[in-house]
Amino acid sequence: MRHLLSPEDFTVQELDQLFDLAADIESNMGRYAHVCDGRILATCFYEPSTRTRLSFESAMHRLGGSVLGFADASNSSASKGESVADTIRVVSCYSDICAIRHPKEGAAAVAAQFSRIPVINAGDGGHQHPTQTLTDLLTIRSLKGRLSELSIGLCGDLKFGRTVHSLIHAMSRYANIRFYFISPPELRVPDYITDKLREMNIPFEEVIRLEDVLGDLDLLYMTRVQKERFFNEEDYIRLKDFYILDEEKMRLAREDMQILHPLPRVNEISVELDKDPRAAYFRQVQYGVYVRMALIMTLLSLKAE
């Protein structure tokens, strides 16, 4: 039985197969409408996340399956003090596959340890959010036609942003990738990641001003400064609007550069850019459903008729 706890749980070849399946789902949605008939997905969300939860639920419904679960810890037995291990043992009796989100890092790994059904990590605190990474990779592959030979800018909260960390790890496995890390000094990429990139001889630059590198990028991955990752509200208020991408800055970008964002957006991308053909963040949401459909099928070893 397989789980997805980290994007590295799948080899590059397995990811290719997953993305091929997701691409086929995109083109032939009807073929997959009954693949999960009679199957149940449990969504165990110990912290609120409308987008990720709805994306999983949409994916399962589009495959013909059903969904049960809870949307925050106060509605679950966790509020009575039940452990993750006990919860997943119980959920294993009710469903065929489980997506779990928990504020504590490593919670999904604990669930996988005690589960009788495949577990998908739908976010464990600031640690991993692999299905967002799979969404990002599928979006990049679909829009750029490749996952190698790319200059990727990551902008915003690069310190606490788990989607950023996962994306860096995931893209590091492809050839000829160059990273541009754009952040205020307080929110720089952690040293263990830059150390690893140096070891792997993957080129990267750390800059403060977005304008300095915007013209060099194939992709710009914007992130939100997340309030819940800060212990100190003053720091959050000082840093939350450090970057705002607008039409003026986008004049510096290439015509084929794509803007990605894990959403929700606050102020970091001006709404006037939504009509710019390079704004790919809502298409990214759609790819999130396709890749989750492909993932559910893969972990349940299901194929279309």
């Binding site: 452990s83 993750v84 291990a85 504020p103 504590k104 490593g106 919670a107 790994a109 604990v110 263990y192």
Partner: protein, 148 residues
């Protein structure tokens, strides 16, 4: 000079940092074994100034010494059979450490989940870096203490 008699079969753990022999004694579970153990504290050492030594008379299969390398790199393990040293062991860093050190990351699931063993994996053999199996937080000796 203090003299402690020879042992017939077992181990002599030499070059233990002065003052740490009792910690090692507890970690290896020697308090639970019904065998002769000599704890020598603050023995004179040309190289270390002072050192501790543990002499344990037991079957050589009775102890799991893997974690010693993590606890103290400089410990020498002499294996004794028939009263003679038959092997001087150099211990590689263990691939996994279970239930010895605690994760200090307050965001880690181990901080709230009951009955979960604290497990660390060897992330970088060259640097001797260990990371928590659950949250990947690096173990810093200053953050956590060995737990018995």
């Amino acid at each position: 000079m203090l003299n402690v008699g020879k042992i017939e079969e077992g181990f002599v753990l030499d070059h233990i940092k002065a003052g740490r022999s009792l910690s090692i004694y507890h970690y290896l579970g020697l308090d639970r074994l019904d065998c002769p153990v000599a704890i020598i504290k603050n023995a004179r050492s040309d190289v270390m100034g002072k050192k501790d030594i543990l002499k344990v008379e037991c079957s050589i299969d009775a102890l799991d010494l893997d974690v010693l390398a993590f606890l103290d790199h400089d410990i020498t393990v002499n294996v004794i059979k028939n009263g003679e040293i038959v092997e001087k062991k150099t211990l590689p860093l263990p691939k996994e450490i279970r239930g010895v050190i605690h994760c200090s990351n307050p965001r880690c699931i181990t901080s709230v989940e009951r009955g979960l063993p604290h497990i660390f994996y060897l992330a970088d053999e060259e640097k001797g870096t260990y990371r928590c199996r659950y949250c990947d937080e690096r173990f810093h000796e200053t953050d956590a203490s060995v737990k018995y």
